[in-house]
Amino acid sequence: MITIYFFAGMKEAAGTPQMTWEIEETTVKNIREKVKETYPQLHQAEFAMTAVNEEFAGNDETVRTGDTVAFIPPVSGG
């Protein structure tokens, strides 16, 4: 199982801070597709940065069961 986190505007658009996906192994690219299928209103899933296990990771990154994937919309801290 892979856990997927949403924050800020994406969390509000999804109506939830997280979803899970029962899969052994996939890629960040496939997770974007899965999220868009599940929450069609989450346009940001197409382009928002992503982090795997709290480190920024690109579309080709392999994601395995137990991993966490977070969508990171443009940050605005400071």
Binding site: A8, M10, F47, M49, A70, S76, G77, G78
Partner: protein, 156 residues
């Protein structure tokens, strides 16, 4: 005690003093501190309050990474950074950065680097509340938001 750590996200009001104390040491003669507070007016629009949200565990790692980057650039620098989340009122402190170094140049440079870097890589988001609505800042719907965004004109 989160006040004993050099990099943390907290929901409590931020006090610069403990962070400053954590970087003061005999080898250092200079401490530069940057404090970001909630500004009432941004481009003429009146802010009522802000809400900050963080991916807390990753944000603390990224704050520490920024500190390590500064210490790698100048091995005699020491860094402490804290960011507040939750609801903040006007003039509340959102972020405190403290950088000590033997000489003042490196302390200014490190502190400036830290605030710029926070606005690039630390997963924290700000929602501005105005009289006529609210909006997550930076959370653009266009992909170009990443590439075209200029210097952040947020709280600081």
């Amino acid at each position: 005690m989160e006040q004993k750590r050099n990099y943390y996200i907290t929901e409590k009001p931020l006090d610069p003093s403990p962070l400053i104390q954590q970087v003061i040491r005999p080898e250092a003669g200079a401490v530069n501190t940057f404090i970001g507070t909630v500004r009432e007016l941004t481009e003429g629009k009146r802010t009522l309050s802000l809400t900050y949200e963080a991916y807390k565990s990753m944000a603390e790692k990224k704050l520490e990474q920024i500190g390590r980057e500064i210490e790698a650039e100048n091995k005699d620098s020491r860094v402490a950074i804290a960011h507040r989340i939750g609801k903040l009122d006007i003039s509340d402190i959102a972020v405190v950065i403290a950088v000590s170094s033997p000489h003042r140049d490196a302390s200014y440079k490190g502190s400036r680097y830290a605030i710029e870097r926070i606005k690039e890589i630390v997963p924290i988001w700000k929602k501005e509340h105005w009289e006529d609505g609210s909006e997550w800042i930076g959370d653009q719907l266009e992909q170009t938001a990443y590439n075209e965004k200029g210097p952040e004109e947020g709280t600081s």
